[in-house]
C-alpha cells in the first residue's frame, strides 16, 4: 500500500486528505490518482489527457517537485524524502511529510491560482506565452515552396519545439514566484525558438528583442536553472534566456 497525501482546495477552504492505494508494479502517480477518483472519492479533481508524457496536462507538485504525474512512478517517489536531491532540485523535506514512509505528497503546481484541488488556472501562464507572439508570420512567403533548412538548425530548434507547455518550469521558477508579470521560462524559451527559426522575419526578431528587453523579460531570470532541472522534455530555458541577453548587449 502507498499513501497519497493530497492537498485539497474548495473555494477558500484548504486541507490535506490521505488516501491508501494498493500499489502495483509500474504504477504511476496518475494511475494512483485515478484509483482515488474512481473508487474512493469522486470529488478529487486533476487534469489529464494522454497518460504518456506528451500532452502536458497532469503537471503537479509531487514531493515538492513539479512533474508530470503520468511519467512519475509511485515506486520512485514513495520514500523519496530520504533521498539526495535529484537533478539539482531539492525534494520534500522529511518534516513536511508524515513520519511514515510510503507516502507521496501531492499538491497543485505553484505560482498559479488554484481552481480546485490539483487544478490550477492556466490562463495566466498561457497569456504570458502568447504575449511573445509565438508564431511564424508567413505573409511574405512563397507558400508553394519548402524553406530549406540545415539539419543542424533543425536540431537546434528541436530542443525548444519539444516544449509541451505543461508549466512545470513555471512552477519551479523563483522569479515567477515573486513577480507575476515575469514572462517565465516557457515563454522565453518559446521566444528563442522563434528568434532562431530561419522562417521568422527580421522585423519580427527585432520586435521580439525589444519586447523582451525588460525586468519582466530576460533580465528577470535568476539564472538558477530550476526550469532546466524539472523539464520533462529536456527543454533548456535558461541557456535560451542567456542567448537572448547576448543579442541585446
Amino acid at each position: 500500500m502507498v499513501t497519497l497525501k493530497i492537498k485539497r482546495q474548495d473555494g477558500d477552504r484548504t486541507w490535506f486528505d490521505h488516501f491508501e492505494v494498493e500499489e502495483k508494479t509500474g504504477m504511476t502517480v496518475l494511475e494512483a490518482l485515478f484509483h482515488v477518483q474512481e473508487r474512493q472519492d469522486g470529488s478529487l479533481c486533476f487534469r489529464y489527457s494522454c497518460r504518456g508524457a506528451v500532452c502536458g496536462s497532469c503537471a503537479m507538485l509531487i514531493n515538492k517537485v513539479p512533474r508530470l504525474a503520468c511519467r512519475t512512478q509511485v515506486a520512485n517517489v514513495k520514500d523519496e524524502a530520504d533521498d539526495e536531491p535529484k537533478d539539482g532540485v531539492a525534494a520534500v523535506k522529511q518534516s513536511e511529510k508524515d513520519e511514515d514512509k510510503n507516502e507521496i505528497l501531492i499538491e497543485p503546481l505553484p505560482n498559479q491560482k488554484v481552481i480546485r484541488d490539483l487544478i490550477v488556472d492556466m490562463d495566466h501562464f498561457y497569456s504570458l506565452v502568447d504575449s511573445v507572439r509565438p508564431w511564424i508570420d508567413s505573409q511574405d512567403r512563397e507558400p508553394e515552396k519548402v524553406t530549406l533548412m540545415e539539419p543542424s538548425t533543425q536540431e537546434q530548434l528541436e530542443r525548444y519545439t519539444n516544449c509541451i507547455l505543461c508549466a512545470t518550469c513555471h512552477g519551479a521558477c523563483p522569479a515567477a514566484a515573486r513577480d507575476g508579470n515575469y514572462l517565465g521560462p516557457a515563454a522565453l524559451a518559446k521566444a528563442w525558438r522563434f528568434y532562431l527559426d530561419p522562417r521568422s522575419r527580421d522585423k519580427d526578431r527585432d520586435e521580439l528583442l525589444e519586447l523582451l528587453d525588460s525586468e519582466s523579460g530576460v533580465w528577470g531570470c535568476d539564472v538558477v536553472y530550476k526550469c532546466v532541472a524539472v523539464c520533462p522534455k529536456k527543454v533548456t530555458p535558461t541557456p535560451a534566456i542567456l542567448e537572448l541577453r547576448k543579442k541585446m548587449e
Binding site: 474548495d10 470529488s43 489529464y48 497518460r51 504518456g52 500532452c55 480546485r116 530549406l148 528541436e158
Partner: protein, 558 residues
C-alpha cells in the same frame, strides 16, 4: 446563448485546420474543446505525415498504396483528393513553422512506412503530431480564433432537418449553455478507450461520433478497428511504426524474425493489419514471451541514430518500461489504435445532416477503408480539415439562424437529462466502463468469430440496460469528472454496440476486420460500406457501394 457562424467541436489537428480555413474564408468561427487544444490526442502521433514529395514518387503511387492498404474498401475519389493535395498541405505546414526533420540538402526528410512503395513519410523526429499540433495552434492564436476550452458538448440540435447548434457543459462550473451555429464541424477524434488496450489518450471516448449518431446521422464502417502492432507492453503507449521504418526487427521468444512467415517481401514493413495479426498469432501460439508480447529490436541502429530519429521512443521505453532500447529490445503487443470508421461524410466533410460536418478520426470520409496506412491519418486531418472549414464557411452564407426559443428549449431539456443522472445508488460509471472495455478487448479484437461477436452484442445490450441506471454521486459543480465520465460512457456503450453488430454481420475478412470463421475477403457480397443508424432498440444496418474508378480490386500480397 452563444452565437457563431461556424462552431468547430474539437481542438486537435483537424479541428484547428478547419477553424483556420473557415476564418480565412471570412466566417465567424469558434472552437469548443473538452481540453485545451494543445492537450489533444493529435499531439501523441509519432511517425509522420505522407506526401509524394520525391521526384520519383507520385500522388498516383500514393493513391494505389492507400487503396491497396485499405483492402479496396476506401472510396477512390476521396483517396485521390487525399493524395493529390498532400504535398500542398505538408509544404503549408512547413511554411507555418513545423520543425520537420531535414535531409542534408535542407529539404524535408522522408522515411519508409508500412504498405508504401516509397519513403513517403515526412516526419519531425518521432514527435510529428506534437510539432504539427503546436504549429496549427500557433496559427490559431495568430488569427485570433475564439476557443472555448474545457467545455463538453453533450448534444447536437437538429431542427427542420438541419443541425442548428449544440448544447455544452462548461466543466469548470457545470453550467450549461446553448451554442447557436449555422454550421457545426465535428473534429473530436476516435473512441480508442472503449478498448482495454489502446494507444489512445484517456480522453478518446468517441464522444463526437456518439453525438452525431444520437442526432440520427449514420456511422460508417465502424467494424473496422485498427490494432497497432507495436504498443508498449502493458501501458500500450504507442511505439511508432517509424521504429520499423528505420529498420527495427520483430522477434519471438525463439529469436526468430517471424515476419518472414507472414509477409516474406515486406517483412516488418507490411501494413499494420498484417503485422498485428502476425504478432497476435505468435502470442496465441505460445511463441511470445510470458505475459503476452514479442520484441521490437532497434539496438542495431545504434545510439546516434536512435537519438536522432527515435528520441521519444527511447524516452518512453525508459520512463514506462524501464528499458533503454539502445541496449535492449522493446516489449510490444498489439493494441487498439485508430478508428477507420466514423461519422459518414464526403470529400468536403459534409454529413447527410445539412449544417453538420465531420473530419479527422471521428469521420469516415472513407480514405482509410478497412485498414489505414501509417502516415495517412495526420494527412487526413489537414487535407479534409481545410476542405470542411472552407465548405462550412460557404454554407453559412446560404442559411438563416434558428430562432432563440428552439435552442432555449433544447438547453432546458438537456439540463433536465443531465440533472436526472445525478444521485445516490444506481450504477457506477467506472464499473460499467471496465466491463465494456473488457468485452471489446476479448470479443471484438484482432481475431473475431460469430460466437465471440454474438456474445459481445448480447453483453453490450445488457450493459446499455444497466447504463440507464447510471448515477453520479459526486455533486461538486467544479470539474466534476464523474459526471463527464458518465455522460461520455453512454455514448461509448452505443459505439460498442455498433462496432460489434457490424462485425457480426460482415461475414468476411477484410483489412483490420478478421473473421476466423470467414478468413477470405468476399468482394461479391461485401465490397460495400456499412452504415449504422440509431434506433431505440439498437443500430439499424444498411449498406452502400464503394466508389471504385482507377484501381480494380486485387488480392493483397506483400
Amino acid at each position: 446563448m452563444i452565437d457563431h457562424d461556424v462552431l468547430v467541436i474539437g481542438g486537435g489537428l483537424s479541428g484547428l485546420r478547419a477553424a483556420l480555413e473557415a476564418k480565412f474564408s471570412g466566417a465567424d468561427v469558434a472552437i469548443i474543446s473538452k481540453v485545451y487544444p494543445i492537450r489533444s490526442h493529435s499531439g501523441a502521433a509519432q511517425g509522420g505525415i505522407n506526401a509524394s514529395l520525391g521526384s520519383d514518387d507520385s500522388w498516383k503511387a500514393h493513391a494505389l498504396d492507400t487503396v491497396k492498404g485499405s483492402d479496396y474498401l476506401a472510396d477512390q475519389d476521396t483517396v485521390e483528393i487525399l493524395c493529390r493535395e498532400a504535398p500542398e498541405r505538408v509544404i503549408e505546414m512547413e511554411n507555418w513553422g513545423t520543425n520537420f526533420s531535414r535531409k542534408d540538402d535542407g529539404t524535408i526528410a522522408q522515411r519508409p512506412f508500412g504498405g508504401a512503395g516509397f519513403p513517403r513519410t515526412c516526419y519531425a523526429g518521432d514527435r510529428t503530431g506534437h510539432n504539427l499540433l503546436h504549429t496549427l495552434y500557433e496559427q490559431v492564436l495568430k488569427n485570433k480564433i475564439k476557443v472555448y476550452s474545457e467545455w463538453l458538448v453533450t448534444k447536437l440540435l437538429v431542427e427542420n432537418g438541419k443541425c442548428a447548434g449544440s448544447v455544452a457543459l462548461n466543466t469548470a462550473n457545470s453550467e450549461m449553455d446553448a451554442f447557436r451555429a449555422k454550421a457545426t464541424i465535428l473534429a473530436t477524434g476516435g473512441y480508442g478507450r472503449i478498448y482495454q488496450r489502446s494507444t489512445n489518450a484517456i480522453i478518446n471516448r468517441g464522444s463526437g461520433i456518439a453525438l452525431a449518431y444520437m442526432a440520427g446521422v449514420p456511422l460508417q464502417d465502424m467494424e473496422f478497428v485498427q490494432f497497432h502492432p507495436t504498443t508498449l507492453w502493458d501501458t500500450n503507449i504507442l511505439i511508432t511504426e517509424g521504429a520499423r521504418g528505420e529498420g527495427g526487427y520483430l522477434y519471438n521468444k525463439d529469436h526468430e524474425r517471424f515476419m518472414a512467415n507472414y509477409a516474406a517481401d515486406a517483412m516488418e514493413l507490411a501494413p499494420r493489419d498484417i503485422v498485428a495479426r502476425a504478432i497476435q498469432t505468435e502470442i496465441d501460439e505460445r511463441r511470445g514471451f510470458p505475459g503476452g508480447y514479442v520484441q521490437l529490436d532497434i539496438t542495431h541502429l545504434g545510439k546516434e541514430k536512435i537519438n536522432k530519429r527515435l528520441p521519444g521512443i527511447r524516452q518512453i521505453s525508459i520512463d514506462f518500461a524501464g528499458i533503454d532500447p539502445v541496449q535492449e529490445p522493446i516489449p510490444v503487443q498489439p493494441g487498439q489504435h485508430y478508428s477507420m470508421g466514423g461519422v459518414s461524410s464526403n470529400k468536403d466533410g459534409e454529413t447527410p445532416l445539412p449544417g453538420l460536418y465531420a473530419v479527422g478520426e471521428c469521420a469516415c470520409i472513407s480514405v482509410h477503408g478497412a485498414n489505414r496506412l501509417g502516415g495517412n491519418s495526420l494527412l487526413d486531418t489537414v487535407v479534409f480539415g481545410k476542405r470542411a472549414g472552407g465548405a462550412a464557411a460557404e454554407y453559412v452564407k446560404t442559411v438563416e439562424n434558428q430562432a432563440d426559443e428552439i435552442l432555449i428549449d433544447a438547453l432546458k431539456n438537456e439540463q433536465q437529462r443531465i440533472e436526472e443522472m445525478m444521485g445516490e445508488g444506481g450504477e457506477n460509471f467506472a464499473e460499467l466502463r471496465d466491463e465494456l472495455r473488457a468485452i471489446m478487448q476479448e470479443y471484438v479484437g484482432v481475431f473475431r468469430n460469430r460466437e465471440k461477436l454474438e456474445h459481445a452484442v448480447e453483453a453490450i445490450r445488457e450493459l446499455k440496460e444497466r447504463g440507464k441506471e447510471l448515477r453520479v454521486k459526486n455533486n461538486s459543480s467544479v470539474f466534476n469528472f464523474e459526471l463527464m465520465n458518465a455522460i461520455e460512457l453512454k455514448g461509448m456503450l452505443e459505439l460498442g454496440h455498433v462496432i460489434a453488430l457490424g462485425a457480426l454481420v460482415r461475414e468476411e475478412s477484410r483489412g483490420a476486420h478478421y473473421r476466423t470463421d470467414f478468413p477470405e475477403r468476399d468482394d461479391e457480397n461485401w465490397l460495400k460500406h456499412t452504415l449504422a443508424c440509431f434506433k431505440p432498440k439498437g443500430p439499424e444496418l444498411d449498406y452502400r457501394e464503394v466508389t471504385i474508378d482507377r484501381f480494380q480490386p486485387e488480392r493483397r500480397a506483400y
